[in-house]
């Protein structure tokens, strides 16, 4: 794949160097055409597995093994029903919604508060905190995982949803603070001063004046955090091993590995679709913002 694409670009070095041409030259067409072909191939490579999964989720395992491309004989939701109820993906879905929902709200509120203070007040030690946040972003979670296990055990939070929530919040904090820090920094000071002059307390200034102004930044970080937390895997599999508390990502992995090659493919595909649908919805609705937030940093 990569080789093809490189070749496609190198086709034109000589031909493309005709700045005076006024309409599309043959080289333009060649480059444009080749680019479209290469990008289209990649698009197929991305879409095909998804399509295969979607169609497969309606097929019986026998049909899947018979032909990878055939359509299911009758379209029904049998696989979804057995995955949702029989294999408890429904329960895991609810667990995931609870854990991700609560952590997301908490981390956004706490992260915004922390970033606001760090960015706009001169508090002793704020430099140190800022560098600790950077460290939190850099070190691998794997370094922390063993002590974390025993810290949660000591607080009797191991294998509980609240324990998982607080860990999610803690590990999503550095990113949230780091991103929102520069955002709060860029807000005008005059408005904050005006709020003080009008007699607003610190609390009120934040919640009624500054936080609403930070909405675009909050939205971008919230989307990123939602995806990150929904997709989290290491923390639940090491800190949340009670089957009734499973979240989707770990449930998927445990289902796939326990069944091995004797796996019910149709049901597995259905479980994959159940896991993907929420992120897919978020992606479709916030596609512009998501790609925008990726670009934000680069355009300064």
């Amino acid at each position: 794949m990569s080789l093809d694409t490189r070749a496609a670009v190198t086709i034109d070095p000589k031909a493309g160097a005709r700045p005076t041409a006024t309409k599309s030259t043959t080289s333009d067409k060649a480059v444009g055409g080749a680019s479209h072909i290469v990008l289209a191939i990649w698009a197929i490579v991305v879409i095909l597995p998804m399509l295969w999964t979607l169609i497969g989720s309606f097929k019986t395992t026998k049909e899947i093994f018979a032909s990878p491309f055939g359509l299911p004989e009758n379209w029904n939701f049998d696989n979804y029903v057995s995955a949702w109820i029989g294999n408890n993906f429904g329960g895991m879905f609810i667990n995931t919604v609870i854990v991700v929902g609560v952590s997301l709200v908490l981390v956004m509120v706490l992260g915004a508060m922390c970033a606001y203070v760090l960015a706009r007040f001169s508090v002793p030690g704020s430099r140190v905190i800022y560098y600790l946040v950077l460290a939190g972003l850099t070190f691998p979670v794997f370094l922390a995982i063993v002590p974390l296990f025993f810290i949660l055990q000591g607080m009797s939070l191991l294998n509980t949803l609240p324990g998982l929530i607080i860990t999610y919040v803690a590990f999503a904090l550095p990113f949230t603070v780091f991103f929102l820090f520069s955002f709060f920094k860029s807000l005008p000071y005059e408005i904050q001063e005006a709020a003080y002059v009008d007699g607003a307390s610190e609390w009120r200034t934040f919640f009624q004046v500054m936080l609403p102004m930070a909405k675009p930044g909050m939205a971008a970080v919230a989307i990123m955090n939602f995806l990150g937390l929904w997709n989290q895997f290491l923390l639940p599999i090491s800190l949340n091993t009670d089957k009734s508390n499973y979240v989707l990502s770990q449930g998927m992995a445990s289902y796939a590995s326990s069944a091995g090659y004797a796996l019910d493919f149709g049901e597995m595909f259905a479980a994959v679709i159940i896991t993907i649908v929420p992120v897919l919805i978020v992606y479709i609705f916030f596609q512009r913002q998501l790609q925008g937030s990726v670009s934000q940093g680069t355009s300064k």
Partner: protein, 341 residues
């Protein structure tokens, strides 16, 4: 951290690529200093105290403790542990399996970013400067479709991606099916079950999931290059290829460097992909990575001291990797330092 928590990390770490630049700005100096009042003190306690306490207890203190545990022979089930100094590290570097896992990680950290960035750069260049060669420098028509589609894998949970590809690679899966249609009989080849192909197949999956994100990142960076610069190059007679090599690449070098670091950190972890593709380490441990070995040592064998030592090694390698990438980029492009940034 986010760098390596699978899942969380894919989203978080890559997005910090984004913030890296803005964050590099001078930290706060001219903040407000307020009078001490109940309002202000309670505000500080809650606004700063609460998040920082959570962060210190659940993120920073485990990091610090891990370094201590790494120098003990703790098994976790008895309260007593002996301080053994660097013995764990000595044993680690005599452990053939660990060394093999480390080698696999190093291979991943070199190859994955390289392939991902080359593909992402090629795609981004096609989309941004692949348009007609007259008039303004323009991109390809209808390119937003490609952008939306290729970005999509980035939002799918990495574990799902890995399981999905595991099914694609199975003997009766999609890959052999397609090859059969094209006329290549693979004889039900198990792509992940053969030591010769397991690593390559794994690398492809990671690349597949990451190309779209970095493509979007590079497109944004290229669009940030002033139009005059590109036009000047065109007037001087540079073709598209030349424009990309001599103008675009040096201008977005910072972004490429950040991308290399984040992809490398992802590859040094790789836990979540391996867990879904070959949870046992692959044929002959050909895809075993340090994080898997660490997880097994801690939660299956209960050797917590040893596992912490592995965590320390992983952290040191991660930092070393970042330092090496930064210095290589500085060496390679030292002259046009400060092109845009």
């Amino acid at each position: 951290m986010s760098l390596s928590a699978p899942g969380l990390d894919t989203a978080l770490d890559t997005s910090t690529v984004v913030t890296a630049r803005t964050g590099r700005r001078k930290a706060p100096r001219a903040g407000l200093r307020r009078r001490m009042s109940f309002d202000y003190v309670s505000f500080l306690l809650v606004f700063l105290g609460l998040p920082v306490a959570i962060f210190l207890i659940f993120v920073i203190s485990p990091f610090v403790q891990a370094v201590y545990y790494a120098m003990t022979n703790w098994t976790g089930f008895s309260p007593d542990m002996d301080f053994v100094g660097v013995e764990n590290f000595v044993r680690l570097f005599q452990d053939a399996t660990f060394l093999q896992a480390m080698g696999n990680n190093v291979l991943l950290a070199i190859v994955v970013p390289l392939i991902t960035i080359v593909i992402a750069l090629v795609f981004a260049s096609m989309i941004t400067v692949g348009g007609p060669s007259h008039g303004q420098v323009r991109g390809l028509k209808g390119s937003s479709f490609y952008r939306v589609v290729s970005f999509f894998p980035y939002v799918i949970p990495a574990i799902v991606i890995a399981i999905l590809w595991n099914m694609i690679y199975t003997p009766s899966g999609l890959l052999n099916g397609i090859l059969g249609v094209v006329g290549i009989d693979t004889n039900e080849f198990a792509w992940l079950g053969d030591a010769r192909t397991a690593m390559g197949a794994t690398i492809f999956v990671i690349v597949w999931s990451m190309v779209g994100f970095y493509m979007v990142l590079f497109i944004a960076a290229i669009k940030g290059i002033p139009g005059e610069t590109l036009e000047a190059a065109r007037i001087d007679g540079a073709g598209r290829f030349r424009t990309v090599i001599s103008i675009v690449l040096p201008q977005i070098r910072d972004n490429v460097q950040t991308a290399y670091i984040y992809l490398g950190i992802l590859a040094l972890d790789a836990f979540v992909y391996m867990a879904g593709l070959n949870s046992t380490g692959g044929p002959g441990n050909s895809t075993l990575v340090m994080s898997q070995y660490l997880f097994r040592t801690a939660f299956e064998k209960g050797q917590f001291g040893m596992a912490s030592a592995m965590g320390v090694v992983l952290a040191v390698i991660t930092l070393l990797f970042a330092a090496i990438v930064i210095s290589v980029f500085r060496l390679v492009g030292g002259k046009d330092e400060g092109g845009r940034a």
